[in-house]
Amino acid sequence: MANLKGIRVSFETSAKWWSPTADALFLGVYGPGGGREFRLNGDIPINQPDKAFSLVLGDPCCPTPNDVPVQYSTGMGDNDPLLNPVELDRIDHVYVRKETADSTSANDDVLALQGANVLLCDTEGRLGLWRRDALLNFSDEAGLQQWLGQIDPPTCHISIRLTRVRHQPSGAHSAGRNWIFSFSAGSNDDYEQLLPPYSYGASTYKDWDLAFDRTKHIAVVGCCGHPQTVVLHGYAYERDWWSPDETSMDQYHVVACEKGTVSQSGSLDVVVQGWQNHQSTISFDYDLSCSCGD
């Protein structure tokens, strides 16, 4: 139930010399909850072929250095999305429309784009992305309005893979040989036990390690470049007949979710204190990979 507060319209004029236009260009957003048109090029001339434009209205989401504010689009101006509130969740159509200068073919100044993207965001930070990846011709000869399709909004895809569980005595003696351990990972909203309680009777009190291949995928909607936090939880328990030694540990791993894939490795250490000088460290080794697409 949050209202549209920001819009970024990005497109690139085609390479044809006649692709830019001086005619009025509009963005329309609407749905069962209402909607409206916005003028896009009031004081922003679309006057060069093969040029990228990033026009923003209101308080846009996922800002870029190339953003150019549209005239009257802030401070409750007549092009501000907040002036006539419309709920983002109820928008089901987005289009771009060109007018002819005087509704005659003779004075129609054609516009040709190499696709268009419209990123909408609401007052609660949610995103909606609409796109058309095609040559878009706006002209009296070919039609003056093009609707865009809704696609997944910018999303950070994160994979967390548990690769190994290692044991090392970290005191004068190991905490023991009879182990149960588990490992969970995810985001605050999507958290899962990758390794359910796993029993392992080691043959040695010294170093050992076990290989695993357990993976959790999470998808977090948000602007690319925004850091995302992965929550990791390790648990280790050494079964003693006189007293159980158990410890759990939470760790937060912040990943910079940029475009392209970034891989990192890490380790979550759980120190298990046994009797007197008996202590072990159980290490959960994991790989993280993340990529952001918009």
Partner: protein, 293 residues
């Protein structure tokens, strides 16, 4: 729902000196079964700022007087909604669009509305309403089209209040002093239970018990359409030999005029016991109907 037969438009132009327009204004209605535009200002000009305009296309929607007929919008004229039938239930979008005089910013005559409401009526009594409020600007500088959001249509709310139950002796002796009451009310297919075998012991010949229990029902539709409901009352006096029972169902009508009306009424049951034993049980209730156009 049936086909749209009437469209009622209420709008107010903005207070700015330049809020009125001489440009063409269209109303668009479309959805899953198609749709069309209607010209709104063919003969009705929106040429004064800060003024209410009340227009109707087709037949009068909700029989409200004082609306100006849009040009060519009756008798299957080109602006009559019945000319190209459109099922009211299929409508998803309602918009208002302004044209510029000649598609140049120079000759764009801006229109600003403070609010607009569009009421759609079909031949079966179905009604839907779309509206928008705030500074609604139609101009070359900021866009020429606004979509409206669906809001509540005119709705009649009927409330039935069970106020009290009274007991009176109707013969030499009452039917008894150990009672169970049941009371329900509402549309025949959606009765609300107010009392369900509510037990009460009372030795007096005359007594009354206050309840003030309420239930409400909503009927979307034009004001002035009466709604039929029913009430049911039952009183049982618990006897060792056999129960003494009285029960009755009554049909009632809520007028649903514009505004609020309250009618007080009673449902009276006779409960007869052996020989000269009889009681009168009276359920006192109010029927309140409120219709907002």
């Amino acid at each position: 729902m049936g086909n749209i037969k009437g469209i009622r438009i209420d709008l107010r132009t903005g207070t700015q000196s330049w809020a009125a327009t001489g440009d063409k204004i269209f109303l668009g209605i479309h959805g899953t079964a198609g749709g069309r535009e209607f010209r709104l200002d063919g003969s009705l000009k929106l040429n004064q700022a800060n003024q209410d305009h009340r227009m109707v296309l087709g037949v009068t929607c909700c029989d409200t007087p004082g609306y100006q007929q849009v040009q060519y919008s009756t008798a299957l004229g080109d602006n009559d909604p019945l000319l190209s039938p459109l099922d009211l239930a299929s409508v998803r979008y309602v918009y208002v669009r302004k044209e510029t005089a000649d598609s140049t910013s120079t000759n764009d005559d801006v229109l600003v509305l403070n609010n607009i409401s569009v009421l759609l009526c079909d031949a079966d009594g179905g009604v839907r309403r779309f509206a928008k409020r705030g500074k609604i600007n139609f101009s070359d500088e900021v866009g020429l089209q606004h979509w409206l959001a669906e809001v509540d249509p005119p709705t009649c709310q009927v409330t039935i209040v069970l106020k009290r139950i009274r007991h009176e002796k109707a013969a030499k002796h009452t039917a008894g002093n150990s009672w169970a009451f049941t009371f329900s009310a509402g549309p025949p297919d959606n009765h609300a239970s107010y009392l369900n075998n509510y037990n009460l012991k009372e030795k007096k010949d005359s007594w009354d018990k206050e309840f003030n229990r309420t239930a409400s029902w909503k009927y979307p539709g034009c004001c002035g359409h009466a709604q039929t409901l029913s009430i049911y009352g039952k009183a049982v006096e618990d006897d060792i030999g056999h129960d003494d029972v009285g029960e009755w169902t009554r049909e009632i009508t809520a007028p649903c005029h514009s505004g609020t009306s309250t009618e007080s009424a009673e449902l009276q049951l006779s409960v007869k016991g052996i020989k000269n034993h009889e009681s009168l049980i009276t359920f006192e209730y109010d029927v309140i109907s409120t219709c907002l156009d």
